[in-house]
Each structure stands twice: as structure tokens, then as C-alpha cells.
């Protein structure tokens, strides 16, 4: 069954092969004997037709082992995401890892993040423009919920803004059943039709089960629609250890496995070969305060463990780490975001969501995105590992140079120093104290704010061609008409205007 390993890079394994095997067998046991609830008769009928044992009254489907194993075997081993102009951008397979800004925050915070406000369309536009320019964050996300548009188009309008200001692939999701189809139509308009979209996906749709072991009507339909349109679907199982999942790491991973596999089964039953991503956003419940810390080390351990399960199944993986529970951008924010970014990457997780986010998963910050981009850059360096070629080992050089040699002006140094060292952006201070003082003695948050201002002061890039843009506008105008919406904050302008 295992199609991927952990070879040839710095890596972290927490579960042994026999642990993985036990969790796998236990998840099959749960799926076969306990089953999972789907709040959709349509889904239950489809599952029953494919061999599930369905109790329609209880809304529960039980899956024979073979059905689950067949579904896993039918999944593609990886997903390549494309830019909106058709270039391969991000490969989700093996141990490749890519960061995506945390998505669907409610608030947006400026400066040190203390005074976060309800996010509006312009905030999302700024986030998208910034992420477009951050070299170590390869994916976009519909990063915030925008409060200045009607709820009916809240999901798809975010996608509209992302597509308008960046051509990086996007992690997104629908808030309703029909929202997903509207969003698919928008993506198809941009890339040149449904077929191109299926062949060269530009977006991933997050779909979340409701723990423990349930899928809502919307989630269920979103899975089925993704399968029908051949859109990559990313399952985001969120066991809260001790609250709606067992209080143990192993139990939480087991529940996560069963929930995720049940989503995999539905997607593959609707259309074999549907690209799926084995994702999640678990949290180890904080028993003192009743909160859901993303920055707790146990949360990250659950992340790495379930990702091992995903790798065991040969599927691309995702997690929600690289974020913090702090309410402001302080040392806690730095500690938790760094630890999560490193552990996610060491776990070989293909999509790591979270940069920019703080205050659990409720706030997005331009400032933090700039800082997190540096963390990501350092992690990429870490995971690049050590060059041990003869030239890099420098045996001959050290021997011929001898004691007391000066390496600074040696050609070997000139050749290697840039490729060996990750050179961080200006927000990371490495000057001596005197120079630091002379340059205003600024802190990281101030410098990150300056970096943000610099990006936003430049003219916004046109991510779409004129044709793509008008095709997208036309789809969105149709959706606006359907909902009786006459205008939206950042366009499209009404027809004929």
C-alpha cells in the first residue's frame, strides 16, 4: 500500500510502521462497523449503489474494507496545480512542500495585530497582492471572509479577488452547495473551459467533515461536485482532542483517518480518479480555557502523524500549522509559527497552511505574512539539506590552505556562499548593534510594515489577460444578477457601465 517514503531529506517520523498498520486496520474497523454519517440522501444512495451498507434512517453509511481499499487505490498519487495562465506551478506529491496563507480568517490586523478588525474586500486584495510577491509562499488562499459583500456571494467573491490580483494557484472552498458550481464556472471562464480546468487545475477546494464522523449536507455535496467537475478536493478533518475526538494523539489520528477515508470513498465512488488531498486542521483541545490551540506541540504531533497516514496511502497531504494562537505578533507568535512551519516541512506535508494567521485561525495579517515568508525561506533552506560533494566538503582546500588561512577572499567562498546560505529579507536583523542603532533601531514588525507598504505602493499587477478578465467578469455578473446584487466593492462593474 505504501507508495511514498521519507528518504533523502531531513525528515521526521513519529509513527512506526506497525503503528501505521494498526491505525489503518482500526480505521477500516470503524468504517466497516460504526460507519460515518452523511446528511444527504443523494450521497447515501450513491454510496449504497457502490457497495456501502446504508442505514438511510440514521443517515449512516458503513463501508466494507474492500470498498475503502479500492477507493484509496483509485486516487491519483499527486496533484499538479497550475497558474491561471496554464503553467505548472506547484506539485503536490512526494515530500515537496508548499506554504499557503491561512484561509477564511474573519479579521484582518495591521501592525502588531492588536487591533484586528472585520476584514473587507480591500483587505483581501492587499493580502493577495502581497502573497503574489512573497517568494516562499507558493500558493494563494481565499484568506479572509469579506464582510462588505452579501453573504450569498461571500465565498465566490473572495475567489474573484484572488484571481484578479494573482495567478498563483489558490486554496479555496465554498460556503454553500451552489457556491461550488459558481466558483467552478469562474475558474473555467479564466482558464478556458471545464476541460482545461479538469486537466490543469488552478484551485483546491477544502471540504470539512464535522467531527466526530459526520459530513454536513453542504460538505457532502461539495465533495460530490468536486468529483463531478474533477476539481481537487482537500479534506480538512478537525478532531479536537478531548472535545469531539479522543483526548489522545493516537485516538485523534485514528478518528482523523476514518473521517478522511470516508471522504475519499465518496469522492472516488462519484468519479474514480478524483484528485484528493489528505488534509486536516486538528487541534489539541485546551482544557483550561476551552480553546483550540494550533500552536500546541501536540496539535503539531497529530498533524505529522496523520500526514504519515496520508503518505502510507500514497496521497498528497496538507495541514494547518505555521500559525499561532497569540493575539498579537509577539514572541509567542514567532515561536509557534516557526515550530509549526518546521515540523510540517519535516513531516513532508505537501501543503502547509497558516502563514499570516494568528489568534487561533481568526485573524490574517499582512505584517505576519512578511515575517512568515522568512520563516518559510529558512525552512526551505533547512530541507535542502547539506551538500556533501567533494567541492563542498573542501578537503583539498583546507589541506592546501593550512592553519591561519583567510577564506573570505578565497574563490571557493565566492562560489559557495550564496548557495549555502539563505539570505533573509530586510525584516530579519543581522547588523551589529551600532549599525542597527544608526538605522533607527527598528523592530521586526516595523520593518515588516515597511516591506508591506513597499509592495502595495507599486502598481497592482494584472494577473489576467483582458480576455480572461472579461470572461470572469461576465460569469460574476451573471451570479450577481441571480442574487439581485447591483454592485460589489472591487467590481466587476455592472454590464454596459
Amino acid at each position: 500500500m505504501a507508495r511514498m517514503g521519507f528518504d533523502a531529506q531531513p525528515k521526521l517520523r513519529i509513527l512506526s510502521d506497525s503503528d501505521i498498520r494498526r491505525i489503518h486496520e482500526s480505521a477500516l474497523d470503524i468504517l466497516e462497523n460504526t460507519g460515518v454519517m452523511f446528511r444527504s440522501d443523494e450521497a447515501l444512495k450513491i454510496l449504497a449503489g457502490a457497495g456501502a451498507v446504508v442505514d438511510f434512517k440514521a443517515g449512516r453509511a458503513r463501508f466494507p474494507k474492500k470498498m475503502v481499499l479500492d477507493a484509496i487505490a483509485g486516487c491519483p498519487p499527486g496533484v499538479t496545480l497550475y497558474t491561471t495562465d496554464g503553467k505548472p506551478a506547484v506539485k503536490l506529491e512526494g515530500n515537496e512542500f508548499h506554504y499557503a496563507p491561512g484561509s477564511t480568517a474573519l479579521k484582518s490586523g495591521a501592525g502588531d495585530g492588536r487591533d484586528a478588525k472585520e476584514a473587507v474586500s480591500a483587505d483581501l486584495r492587499d493580502i493577495v497582492r502581497l502573497v503574489d510577491r512573497l517568494p516562499h509562499i507558493h500558493l494563494q488562499s481565499t484568506a479572509v471572509v469579506v464582510s462588505d459583500v452579501p453573504r450569498a456571494v461571500g465565498d465566490l467573491y473572495r475567489l474573484y479577488i484572488v484571481l484578479k490580483y494573482s495567478n498563483k494557484p489558490v486554496i479555496t472552498g465554498a460556503f454553500s452547495i451552489e457556491g461550488l458550481t459558481d466558483m467552478k464556472n469562474m475558474l473555467a471562464a479564466v482558464v478556458g473551459g471545464d476541460r482545461v480546468l479538469a486537466e490543469k487545475p488552478v484551485a483546491v477546494f477544502d471540504v470539512c467533515p464535522s467531527p466526530p464522523l459526520m459530513w454536513t449536507d453542504i460538505s457532502t455535496h461539495n465533495i460530490m461536485d468536486c468529483a463531478r467537475y474533477s476539481l481537487p478536493v482537500e479534506f480538512i478533518s478537525m478532531p479536537l482532542s478531548g472535545a469531539n475526538a479522543p483526548a489522545t494523539i493516537a485516538g485523534s489520528v485514528l478518528q482523523h483517518t476514518a473521517e478522511t477515508l470516508s471522504g475519499v470513498v465518496l469522492a472516488q465512488v462519484v468519479r474514480k480518479g478524483t484528485p484528493v488531498i489528505y488534509g486536516g486542521a486538528p487541534s489539541f483541545f485546551e482544557m483550561r480555557f476551552g480553546t483550540t490551540p494550533m500552536g500546541s506541540v501536540e496539535t503539531m504531533m497529530v498533524d505529522v502523524c496523520y500526514a504519515q497516514m496520508g503518505k502510507f496511502y500514497g496521497l498528497p497531504t496538507h495541514t494547518y500549522t505555521a500559525t499561532t494562537d497569540s493575539k498579537l505578533l509577539d514572541m509567542q507568535a514567532g515561536v509557534e509559527s516557526s515550530l509549526g512551519s518546521v515540523l510540517g516541512a519535516l513531516g513532508g506535508i505537501n501543503v502547509i497552511s497558516g502563514p499570516g494567521m494568528y489568534d487561533f485561525l481568526t485573524c490574517q495579517s499582512l505584517t505576519k505574512l512578511v515575517v512568515d515568508n522568512e520563516i518559510c525561506g529558512m525552512v526551505y533552506r533547512l530541507l535542502k539539506g547539506v551538500d556533501t560533494s567533494d567541492d563542498a566538503l573542501a578537503l583539498d582546500l583546507i589541506k592546501s590552505s593550512g592553519p591561519g588561512a583567510d577564506y573570505l577572499s578565497n574563490p571557493h567562498t565566492l562560489k559557495f556562499f550564496k548557495q549555502e546560505q539563505y539570505v533573509p529579507g530586510p525584516v530579519v536583523d543581522r547588523r551589529d548593534r551600532k549599525n542597527w542603532l544608526a538605522r533607527g533601531a527598528t523592530d521586526m514588525i516595523t520593518k515588516a510594515g515597511e516591506a508591506v507598504a513597499k509592495v502595495l505602493a507599486a502598481p497592482p499587477p494584472a494577473s489576467l489577460s483582458a480576455n480572461q478578465s472579461s470572461a470572469l467578469d461576465s460569469v460574476v455578473r451573471g451570479i450577481m444578477k441571480k442574487h439581485g446584487i447591483s454592485s460589489l466593492p472591487l467590481g466587476p462593474e455592472a454590464a454596459g457601465a
Binding site: 591561519g404 583567510d406 573570505l408 577572499s409 567562498t413 565566492l414 551589529d432 549599525n435
Partner: protein, 214 residues
């Protein structure tokens, strides 16, 4: 091509550390009949000045600055070999790392930057005894003496060298500059040094100030 364009080309070649291109620009300038002192001052030295500022701003890396310094030196030698009078050095600078200290990285960079700034540089090396400093000052009569120390255990030797210079009646004839990781302006003032420099670029600036040169 007019002389401004040739000089700008030379400056860019030096900044990029491209010795072949810089050499070609120097020959071009000579063929165009430009004054050697002008090539040195407005081409080669200007390039190093710009690089120094870029380095302070974190825009270039130390190994690249040192590569450019090598290109500078090669071009300056070529100018001299082309005949005629070389420009007189702006001053004589003597450098050394004090006794007990084997760290000479910073001192070497100061030497290179001083040279590119037009100073004649006499480098006494590392682990230099107080007696050797005194002898060398007597013999070479430098305008500036740079004492380097990287260790808190060896920085005291900077004070001793200054005391020896006083004792020998040499102190008033030379400007003493100190540097090194544990060294500060406060320490420099305490031991009676004339200047403290935090890095090579600053060492050049302080030396120029003390000697009243551009």
C-alpha cells in the same frame, strides 16, 4: 564614447568584479587620452566608494567586495605599468593584530579597503608584539596605526602598545585607530586612541577625517 561613459563602464565592471571588462575599460580610457589620476580617482576609487555604501546598506556581500577590491588592485597596477606618475598615496597606514591574538580577518579587510581608498598599507600581520609595533612605527613613520584585537583577553594589549608609543616619544607622530569585536568608542577613549572604527568602511572614513583628506 565620451569619458563619462567610459568611467561609468569602468565603475560598473569593478562593482561586478569583472576583471577582464574592467581592464578593457582602463585601456579604453588610456587610449582616449584620459588622465591616469582621473581614471584612478573618478573610476576605480569611485567604484569602491559606491561599493562601500552598498555594503553598508546590505546590498552586496563581503566576498563580492573583496573580489572587486582585487579587480581594483589589478587595474591600479595596470595604470601604474602604463607609465607616468602614479597618484601619490593619500597616507601611509600600518596595521597589525596585537600580541596573543591570531584573528586577522577584520584587519585584513581593513587593509584591503584602505588600499582601495588610496592609502599605502603596511600590514604587520597578527600576534604582533609591542616591541615590533614600536620598531615598525620608528622605521616606517606611518600616518595611521591600526591596532586590531578580537578577544577581550587581548584588547588590553592595545592600551599597552599606545603606552609604549608614548614612552618612546612616538605617540604624537601617528594617529592610532583601534578596532575589533570587543572594542568600542568608550574603550578607545579610555586608552587614549585617536579613533575607533566598527568596520572597514568606517576605518577608511575615520582615517580620511583624521588626515584631512577627501
Amino acid at each position: 564614447m565620451d569619458s563619462t561613459a567610459i568611467l561609468e563602464g569602468l565603475i560598473q565592471s569593478v562593482i561586478q568584479g569583472d576583471e577582464d571588462s574592467a581592464g578593457a575599460r582602463v585601456r579604453e580610457a588610456l587610449t582616449a587620452g584620459m588622465d591616469k589620476a582621473a581614471i584612478l580617482e573618478y573610476g576605480l576609487s569611485e567604484a569602491m566608494n559606491r561599493l562601500g555604501r552598498m555594503w553598508e546598506d546590505g546590498e552586496v556581500f563581503l566576498p563580492e567586495v573583496l573580489l572587486s577590491a582585487r579587480v581594483f588592485q589589478a587595474c591600479a597596477d595596470a595604470l601604474e605599468a602604463a607609465g607616468g606618475e602614479a597618484k601619490a598615496p593619500v597616507g601611509r597606514c600600518m596595521l597589525g593584530t596585537v600580541r596573543g591574538d591570531l584573528h586577522d580577518l577584520g584587519k585584513n579587510i581593513v587593509g584591503i579597503m584602505m588600499k582601495t581608498a588610496g592609502f599605502e598599507v603596511i600590514d604587520l600581520g597578527r600576534d604582533v608584539t609591542r616591541e615590533a609595533f614600536v620598531e615598525a612605527v620608528k622605521h616606517h613613520n606611518p600616518d595611521v596605526l591600526g591596532l586590531s584585537a578580537l578577544l577581550t583577553t587581548t584588547m588590553g594589549e592595545q592600551r599597552t602598545v599606545i603606552e609604549c608609543l608614548v614612552k618612546e616619544g612616538l605617540r604624537n607622530g601617528v594617529k592610532v585607530m583601534v578596532g575589533g569585536a570587543p572594542v568600542s568608542q568608550r574603550w578607545a577613549s579610555e586608552i587614549g586612541a585617536d579613533a575607533y572604527a566598527a568596520n572597514a568602511q568606517e576605518a577608511v572614513e575615520k582615517a580620511r577625517q583624521m588626515l584631512g583628506v577627501r
